[in-house]
Amino acid sequence: MRSTTSSADDDGAADQQNPGPTEQELEANRRKARRRAKSRNWTLFLLFAGPNILLILAFIYYPLLSNMYYSTLDWRLGSATATSVGLQNYVDFFTSSSGVEVWRVTGIFTAGAVLGSMILGLLIALVINKKIPGRTAARTAVFSPYVLSGVGVALVWNFIFDPHRGALSHVLAAFGMSSPQWYLDEDWALFMVIIVYVWKNLGYCAVVFLAGLQSIPKDLLESATIDRAGPARRFFSIVLPLLTPTVFFLFVTNIIFSMTNAFDILRTMTPTGHGTNTIIFEIYLQSFGAYQRAGYSASIAVVLFFTLFLITAVQLRFVERKVHYA
């Protein structure tokens, strides 16, 4: 008893004599341990994620920044000298007739590609949505062009569109028509690449629409049928409104895709890009085509990046929040 109290007293005395340092030491130790754990976490984190982050910095972020620098230069690819021209490249791209032409072609291509693949995709989704045997196989077949090489697909359609030997020219001849000059006439060429892009892309739209259709509650449609709503009425009053989130999602992603994914079709079907030089094709043509205007090409790349950034921001800000089940 006594001994214990005395020892307790001793402890107390020791604490009173020397209370701060122990506490501080403990705290310091704890902090050190935490810091060590944190730095060990950082070491592990960088071990796991570091290589990927480095690669993304080197080959995605560094190019974004250096493009901004190159875009202020009048500079030919391969040339050792370049002169600074400020924002002249941007002014050229937005005001010169060749720059305006790129915007016109991009606008027509995007509009045609987005509307074409969404409308046809929705029609196909409505058809596949019926419960009939073989629809899984149909879904697979419709989606398949989306995963095929754009170069391969473009070669096949080159043959089909050939005004003299192509399958299409034989079909048109059967109806007494002659084939348009798909490759010589710039307007027909643009129409042609839109068709091929839509063919490759509509399966994606169909599959996304199909998922949207299958999330529509069945009892809603059944009660509408009992109230004698016809198929058209059911589609426009129930299906389409409930599908708006899907429609907006596809609308935005398709705009982005058609601005960025079409390069291999465009390059293979119309190598020189007369009449089909959309913004993505123009970036390539300006730096690696006949002109080698690297600085101008970089300015177009910067404009494209900010355009895509804007579209994505608008989607995240408005579409995701406001349109759900409008």
């Binding site: 796991f48 080959f59 995605i60 398949s144 989306y146 170069v151 050939d162 399958a167």
Partner: protein
């Protein structure tokens, strides 16, 4: 309750009549006709639009030149020949190009999938301040199309001596935002309890990743792997600008060369044989594993 007749109370004869009634309804002429018109006819039209060009490609690749230039073409080759494939091999070093494509696809996809797995794991399970900011940076990278980085990357890889080399094709595409994003979403959804037993045993992050997280995530990893394989195989723009000599080309670039050789003569049989070589392998992969590929490519849309 006389009006509520249970199945057991029906006589055998009545039951048979009922069954026959539904049978004959289902196979009535009107029902068959409406199923055909509203169900199968549109599907058939859609399938023809999709399948006919591909069938045309495959069948034409076996046609001799005389059947390509003819005024009366037939769908089936009358005199099937393999000479188009031989001609492709004579104009481009076919086996080398095919080997390059397989090499680039396999190495590129393997590294990308590994990087995606480890990065996604780190983002979810290794707590460091600012991890969310890093994730945001990866999301922005997801948005940048390769065309935007093409010119600076061309200069970087040229400076590193990677022009006209296979590693020059592979290196700039190795950083993966897509795979990281997809696997992060997946890892986040894994139940914490999975890891608890391992943590009590004192397992480190390596064991938790490779003995727990990876084995339970194989479908998601397969999705990332397959989408990556498809993209690497089809990749065209970057190999086109970084490769000059035919011996280093991948299939899409080799086909581009083939087209520029054959464009004037219009020897479509040879070009169709080339198209078959780049398209059919992916058709087979897709047909076998479409569930994973569709899931990966429509990610974000189907929540």
């Amino acid at each position: 309750m006389p009006e509520l007749i249970s199945r057991q109370q029906l006589t055998r004869e009545q039951r048979r009549q009922r069954r026959r009634g539904s049978w004959t309804d289902a196979f009535s002429r009107q029902n068959i006709l409406s199923t055909l018109l509203t169900g199968y006819l549109p599907i058939l039209v859609a399938l023809l639009v999709i399948v006919l060009p591909l069938a045309w490609m495959i069948l034409s690749s076996f046609k001799p030149p005389s059947e390509i230039v003819t005024l009366n073409p037939t769908l089936l080759p009358q005199d099937p020949t393999l000479s188009n494939y031989g001609d492709v091999a004579r104009r481009v070093p076919l086996l080398t190009v095919l080997g390059n494509s397989i090499y680039v696809t396999l190495i590129g996809s393997t590294v990308k999938v590994l990087l995606a797995i480890t990065t996604a794991y780190a983002l979810v399970y290794i707590r460091v301040p600012g991890a969310n900011l890093i994730f945001l940076g990866i999301l922005v990278a997801l948005m940048v199309p390769p065309e935007v980085s093409m010119l600076p990357n061309f200069l970087t890889i040229s400076a590193l001596g990677g022009r006209d080399t296979l590693w020059g094709i592979i290196l700039p595409g190795l950083g993966t935002a897509f795979g990281t994003f997809l696997l992060r979403q997946h890892f986040k959804a894994l139940p914490k309890e999975l890891f608890e037993a391992a943590e009590l045993d004192g397992a480190g992050h390596f064991r938790k990743l490779f003995q727990i997280a990876v084995p339970v995530s194989l479908p998601a990893i397969a999705t990332v792997a397959l989408v990556t394989v498809v993209n690497e195989w089809n990749s065209f723009l970057w190999p086109l600008i970084i490769i000059d000599s035919p011996e280093k080309m991948t299939l899409p670039v080799g086909l581009n060369l083939l087209q520029s050789i054959e464009a004037q003569t219009g020897s479509y049989g040879i070009l169709m044989a080339g198209a078959v070589l780049v398209i059919v392998p992916m058709l087979i992969v897709f047909a076998a594993l479409q569930r994973y590929i569709v899931a990966g490519l429509t990610q974000g849309a189907v929540k």
